[in-house]
Structures are given as C-alpha cells and as structure tokens.
Amino acid sequence: MGNDTKYKARTFRAVGTRPVRPDGIDKVTGRARYGADFSMPGQLVGRVLRSDVPHATIKKIETAKAEALPGVKAVITAKDLPDYTDGDEELYAVLDNCMARKKVLYDGHAVAAVAAVDEKTARAALKLIEVEYKIHKHVTDVDEAFKPSAPVIRKDCFTTGVKPRPKKASNVSACSEFGHGNIKKGFKEADVIIERQFKTGQTHQGYIEPHACVGSISPDGSGDLWVCTQGHFVYRQMCSQLLGMDQSRLRVTSSEIGGGFGGKTHIWIEPVALALSRKANQPVKVVMSREEVFRASGPTSATSIDVKMGVTKDGRITAGEATLRYASGPYPGSWAQLGAMTAFACYDMPNVKTTGYEVLVNRPKTTAYRAPSAPMAAFAVESVIDELAKEISMDAVDLRIKNSAQEGTQSSYGPVYGPIGIGATLEAAREHPHMKAPLGENQGRGMACGFWFNFGGQSCTSLNIAEDGSVTLTVGTIDVGGARASLSLVVAEELGVEYEQVKTVIGDTGTLGFNEMTDGSRGTFASSMSAIVSVRQAIVQLKSRAAQIWDIPVDAVEWKDGHAVATGRGAKNRQPLSVADIAASAAKTGGPLAGHAQIVADGAGVSFATHICDVEVDPDTGRSTILRYTVLQDAGKAVHPTYVEGQFQGGAAQGIGWALNEEYIYGKDGRLQNPGFLDYRIPVCSDLPMIDTQILEIPNPNHPYGVRGVGETSIVPPLAAIANAVSNATGVRMTQVPMSPPRVLEALDEHLAMSRRRKRA
C-alpha cells in the first residue's frame, strides 16, 4: 500500500474494460472547447509577421505606420521580449524562435506581431510593418549543411562531443556516440556484410488543430493563459521565464487539445500573446493559420543515415554500425542522439556502434514527433536486416527472433533490459494469420520492429470525495486521446467503486503541483501511478473515519470492494460502510475526504512493437497501396484496450503517411513550397485499410498494474515495414522516404534499365 508502486499480479474488475469516455459526449455534440474556441471579454486579435527569407540579418524593423493605424493597440518586436534567459542557451533558442532577435533563420520565422481590435485591422497592420534584411546564403538540405563548404548558420557553433574541440565553426552542433564491443572484430566474424545509405524527408505532426491561445496580463503583472498544449505546467514554466514573471503569477489553463503528437510540447505564439497583452493592457487571442503551422511550428528532422551490419550464415548478427545525421532546424538539438540510442535497441548486439550528428539547417526548429527520431533510425536498420535475411536465405522474422534482445540483454544504448516484449511481439507476428495470407501480382509483404524508451517523470494528482460519495480525480497531464477514461478506470479499480462514480478532470496550474507534459508516452503511465497513490491516501482517511463512526481502533478496519469492513471483535453487527456512507458524515469525523499524491514515476518500461504490412505497387505509376496492416505491441497492461488499439492504429497511419507521401519541399529560394494539407498530403480515409491490432501484456514491474506507455512506439516500425514490403513487391530496395510515386517509378525504371544492361552484357 501507500507509496509502494511495484507491480503486483491481481485480477482486474474495472481496468481492461471498455467504457465510453467521459469527455466524449461534449466532443460529439460540438460543446468541447478547444484552443481557438475560448474567448475573453475585450480580447484583441493578435497576428504574427513572419520572415519570407530563409537566412538574413534584420537591419531595421519600422513599426510606426502600423502603430498609427486606427484600431491597432500594440505592435511588438524582439525588443518587447527582453532577454531573461540568463545564459541558458536552450531557453535563449526558444526565445529567439518565438521572435527573431538579430537574424531570421528560416522561412516563417516570427519578426513582429500586432494586436488589434479585429482580424482585418491586424492583417492590415502587418502589411504596414517594414523589415529591412541583409540576406545571407542559406542551406536547407541536411547533407549539404553537413559539408564543410556549407554556409555556416551560426558563427558560434563549434561541434561538441568531439576531441579536440574544432577551431572552425560549422553546422554540426554536436556529436554523440553509443555502443559496446568491438565492431572491427564483429565485422571480421561476419559471412555477409551489407552497407547502405538512407534518407528521410522532413515531416510535420499534422495535428488538425492549429496552435491557439488567449493571453492576458493584468496591470499588476499577474497573468492568465488559455491554450491548447500537451503540458500546461511546462508552458507556464517557459512563458513565465521568458516574460520575467514568477511562475505562480501566471496561471495556465489547458483547453481540449486537437492533436499534438509532440508538436504541442513547445511554445511559439504563447509568449507573443502575453507580450502583446502586456503592451496593449487587454487580453489577446492568437491563432495560427495552417500555413503558419507548417512554416513555423513542429517539424521532425530530415535525416541521412548510413548503416552497416554483418551476419553469419546461420543468422547471428555479429556487428552493427550506424552514422546518423539529423537536421535540427537552425538551433542545436539532440535529435540524432535519440536516433543513435534507438537504432539497434531491438537487438542483442555483441558489437555495436552508433554516431549521431546534430545538423543545423535553415528550416523551422525541430520539435518532438511521436517517438522522436526513432522511426528514421528503424527505417535504416530494419531495411538492412531484411537484406541480410535475404542474403543468407533466412526468414526475416526468424532472423530477428534469433537476435532479439531479452531480459538481461545489454541494450545498444547502455542499460540492461528488464522484462521486455520484443521477442513476444515477433513470436506473435510469426504465428499471425496475416503472415500466411496469399499475395497477388505486384504485391509484397514486409515487417519491421520498433523500440521506444517511454518516460515517467513528475506527476501530481488530487482525489476529492464529494459529500454524496462521488469521486473527482484532478490530474495535471493533458488528455490527448482518452486518458480521462483510463484514469477513471484506475481509480474505480483501486477504490473499489463503479467507473461512473468517478470523474477525472484536468486541473489548471493553480490547482496542483508541477506535472510534466503528456509526452514520452507518460500520460496514463505516470498519472495512473499517481492516481493509485492518491486513492491509497484517501483509503487511509476513509478507514480512519469508519473507525471513528464505529468507535473501534483503525487497525480493526479493512478496505474491501469499495467498503470499510470491521474485523475481529468489532465486526459484530457492523454492516460495511460505503464511500457514500462515510462521506455523509465527513463533517462530523474530520472534514472533507481527499487523497493527494506527488511522485516521480520512475521505471517507465521500455516498449517494443512488430508491424506487418502488405503493399501493392502499380508498376505504371509507382503508387503504393497498403492492402493490409497489422500492429503487434506490448502494452504492459491495457487499461482501456479500445484506446490502446487507437494508439496503435494512429501511430501506424502516421507512419504510413511518412513512408509514402509526407515531406517538406523547399525551393532553391529556401522557402517552403507545400505549407498546406493539399500539397502536404496526410493519409485520408480512402488511402488506408482497416488496421488490425494485437495487444500483448508483459507487465511492467515498476507500475502497480503493470502499465507501460503505449502512445509512441507504433510510429517506429511503419517506414521500414512498408519499405520492406515495397522491396518484396518490386525487387527494388527503396532507401529514401517518402516512397512517393515518382520516386518509386524512378527506382523501378533504373532497376529495369540495369537488368537490361546486365542481360546485354
């Protein structure tokens, strides 16, 4: 009991059922309030002026004409956001990204903002702001930026993590290395070695709800922010730091969130709205357009990855090496590091080495996107493993099973694994009927595995029991896709009451201690752990109140099936007391009933998945159609299985888009050419088949119910699974995503020409 959060096997009553989510009714009737749906009396409309050049020094910004326009209440530039970052380079990058200070670093970089009485006036004011630039050479491609001859984006960028420290500035901000064993020796032991180069396009999280907020700073310097976010406590922390406020003076209330996938873990317009409000002395609402979302928020890294792997004839992988170059936008990041850590994490590798390079480019600042950095690394490694299997005439699943990591394996990034599910998902894949289904002409089947760390971190929850015995759980983690249902189930389970008796709500930053964001697949994992501790605290209270009511010692009271039960001699003639019974006399026994918890949710168990995919490739157009798709993933314990399936399906669909269509396209002028859903094409309903799922449950020893995070891993295998399927359908190995029709057609034509030449020779 109490704070012991280790796993204990049990039979579940509520957890594992599939009730309707509590917030669902408002979402099917249009009542639910998202970021742009919130309004304040007297609010102004804020709009941001963005750079249309990719790299330039700001010589002058002339705002007088805009300020003079009737209806304009404030115009701000970087001057209105003084630097409070106190040497914190990461925070300074956030500040500079929110409003360019000396240079603009990408097409879409904010340079000024206005607040006006209405949208029309705000737009007109933007046109009156004159910015004078001194244009610099730009670079948007990761490989071009990596070259020593590339235009250097930051003169103060000297690669960290290499010895000796370079004397010349470059676009490589950092280098990181992982691995163990001796790869030279490992490659010597191999019978077959495959070495390939891969490239992946830059994708956007593509949430349907653009960023939106209302900021209000009062004359006394205190403020409110209503915002769609994956983490309102973190937004409070960052915004208050950037505005030079005490954190407690800024209250942040989260709206319903219309998708985030990592893209709403970062601030862009929020400090701008607050700074506008401070200057105008009125609330200011800022909503991004879709074009702004693409040009200025989000994207993941574009990458270039080299992989070399060796295997013996009998299927033992002897060595693996990967060099990963990840674009981070114009600011230093640690995205290649995550790629380098995850690349070989599914396997038991005796000799492994990965090197990650963070590369600056004139593109928007890279932000997390669902299992950030892992899908690209998996694309490269899982493609090579398929080739190795072919070379030694071994089944692709069998080769992976033979080399899969297990409990006790030292991972390629360092730690030794506890109980993990990679082997189980592979075994389940091998036995799945999908693997045996017949294929037709131009069709191919592919499979691939994926890994993600998962994260725990700080959570704080409060459980309050009303006078009628109904229960409210207040959490500080955003519900991105059904977490309130899952957390209500957990409370119902632990307290022993009905699901319908529990309501989970998300508190604002004034109601709870710090909560980390809903990221790293931590929402349900960490907040359910905290909720369980809250319930246990409340049960201590409930038992003590029952003891008072019965006038017996508290240790003669047990908590069973949602009731206080008297034991021993005290049990005579004493009917069990329900939560409602005890709550009814709370005023006489010590006041309100509550349980509070603040924890660091350590031990988020790592997560693995295996995906199977059938593809048909049209040889005339190069178009790939997904015919069948199956996701097998370890959930630890699926609290609400329907929403676990939903996470599996959603990640797979995003991966399919990444594999086949989605890509930022930059012109020679360094401007984004496809900042809209028409030209940046995410999968639509008619692009996809049903996505089958199989949930495996290998309990996480560090959660009372065995729960693992489930949100992110499902986006890791699809790029490789589809590439392997396309390769099996066409006989051509695709090494670049997206595998768009022209790219596939080109590869097919090249292959055809090459085999003709071979025949002639």
Partner: protein, 158 residues
Amino acid sequence: MSLLIETTVNGDQREFVCEADETLMDALRNRMSLTGVKEGCGTGDCGACSILLDGELVCSCLVLGAEAAGRTIETVEGISDGDELHPLQQKFLEHAALQCGICTPGFLVAAKALLERNPNPTEEEIRYGLAGNLCRCTGYDKIVRAVQAAAVEMNGES
C-alpha cells in the same frame, strides 16, 4: 461593408451581421457561437468545418457568410434530437471513433450526409465518402466501423 443575413441554423431562424468578405465558418463561430464548427486549414482541405447547406455537404470556410442568406444550415450542434443522440454520435462514442475529437464534428456531419445519400454503404463507399475529412489520430479504422454500425442501427437491423 457589413451585411445583415437572415438564415435558418439547426432549425432556428437566425440573423447575423457579417462583413462582405467574411467566411460562413467565421460567421458561425464568431457571430453565432457555434464553435463546434472547427477551423483546421481554412482552405477546404481538412473538412473540420463541414456543415450542411440546404442539405449539401460543404466546407464552411469556402462559403461566404453572405451566401447563407435565405438558406438552411445544419451544424454538429443540430445533429442530436434534443438530448437524444443521433445514432452516429452514439456509435462514435461506443467505438472510440475519436481520440482528440477536433475532426469529429466534421466527420459526423459528413457521415450523416453520406448515410442520407446512401443508407447501405460498403466499406469502400464509406472511405471515399469521408475522404474529404482529415483525422490524424485514429487511422480511420474506428471511424469507419462506427459509421458501419450506425448504418446498421438506422436501417433497423440491430
């Protein structure tokens, strides 16, 4: 220039004032507080602002407010019959056909239009019928199943 527009919204006679260049989406959201109409793109690519205009499925971001004069509008707020949910709404809940829910109003309106046109759609007809609505969370699987289940219920087969 401001215009006074008379129209019928979810069965009610309504009047609103809008600018000549104001979209119907903005008018519905900002002038009539019907914020169930969502803006995902403003260019007719995502379908989050879908409404029925004289029974026809349109993206309200591609229609001017002024064009609503004398016509009949139905939004997500008008789908249920009082406190009785429409079968589509009920099935979306039961099948977990929403995760974040921002696309849900548009999907419900589009699915209602689809089932009115074709009460017995095949899976393929549902997929093409809803191809104008983007969802980034679900992979569409549970949405298609919810529409199938609603069709069955509306046809009295369950």
